[in-house]
Symmetry: C2
Subunit: 155 residues, 2 copies
DNA sequence: CCGAATGAGTTCCCTCAGGGAACCCTATTG
DNA sequence: CAATAGGGTTCCCTGAGGGAACTCATTCGG
């Protein structure tokens, strides 16, 4: 889709960006997440070009991030829903939201709030270590080559 | 930079994508994070066009994600480093890595591993609620309008 | 029975951003 | 004095994004 093939790089960031690294995709996912699941609704709520929307949806289907269900046959009408893979991408969106709220929201405050089911409070995500549970930021880690680092000098 | 102005939308995802929603930016940030800080090094390690690299760096400087330091005057030579704002974007990269590792890595395994300073273990980030500390996924929350939701029907 | 509306796309054309190569400028090095 | 290095800028070409119009199948209103 992009000029450069990011999906082929030995880098999980590049590969993830190959899937959603074009700014409409996260917004499409967000809208499907909050219940805007049909082509027409998506196009209107986002103001995206119909052509580009069709391309993105096809792309996200191919990657297994979305599924298409027929909610009416004759005439066939479809709606798009998140797969597990896609729902986990929404976790990434929550982190984007957190950064955007912190650094770009301006005086009006965050446009959207999130209430955590478990505790019932308005909250936000915080990255923590899956092993020890302590906060885990980019400043708190060492980067080491992994098994899939391979030939690619790009990683 | 993009055709559509994402930065003006009342949505933190859109605003974040306005900053890094073009697939080279996260890779530039990643490389600066791991110590590739100069124009020439960045261009060669990423295989990015010099023109596009210059554009991205300027963009990221304007947004306060990067800073430029002169490491040699006469001839003036610069290196780019992350601001706090930029370092917090790297937390977002860690989440991208996690998703990419889980869903796109293939049989070779993840290309890069991360060791958490606090516990010394190879680990990965997990999103948790900043209030109660329990896991906080997209499936675990309600979305509510916030103070900055405003007029925009896009949100 | 005819015309309009709905939903989901597809097609066409235009413009602008990405890619690549060449070029520029300043200073140091051999 | 030529070559090299670092950090860009300029040029041109192609292809992706934007917008509007069109298609196709079906249903609804009068």
């Amino acid at each position: 889709m992009q000029r450069t093939r990011f999906g082929d790089m030995a880098c999980s960031i590049a590969r993830t960006m190959d899937v959603i690294g074009e700014p409409w995709s996260p917004l499409i996912l967000r809208n499907i997440y909050i219940g805007v699941t049909r082509f027409e609704q998506l196009q209107q709520s986002l103001g995206i070009s119909r052509k580009v929307l069709a391309e993105r949806l096809k792309w996200l289907l191919e990657y297994g991030v979305l599924e298409r269900q027929e909610y009416s046959s004759r005439p066939p009408r479809y709606e798009y829903t998140l797969t597990t893979k896609g729902m986990e991408l929404c976790d990434l969106l929550l982190v984007m939201v957190r950064w955007g709220d912190r650094w770009l929201a301006g005086p009006a405050g965050p446009p959207v709030l999130y209430r955590h089911h478990a505790c019932g409070k308005i909250s936000h995500v915080e990255p923590r270590c899956a092993e020890c549970g302590e906060p885990m930021h980019a400043t708190d880690i060492d980067v080491l080559p992994g098994p899939g680092s391979d030939v690619e000098p790009t990683d």
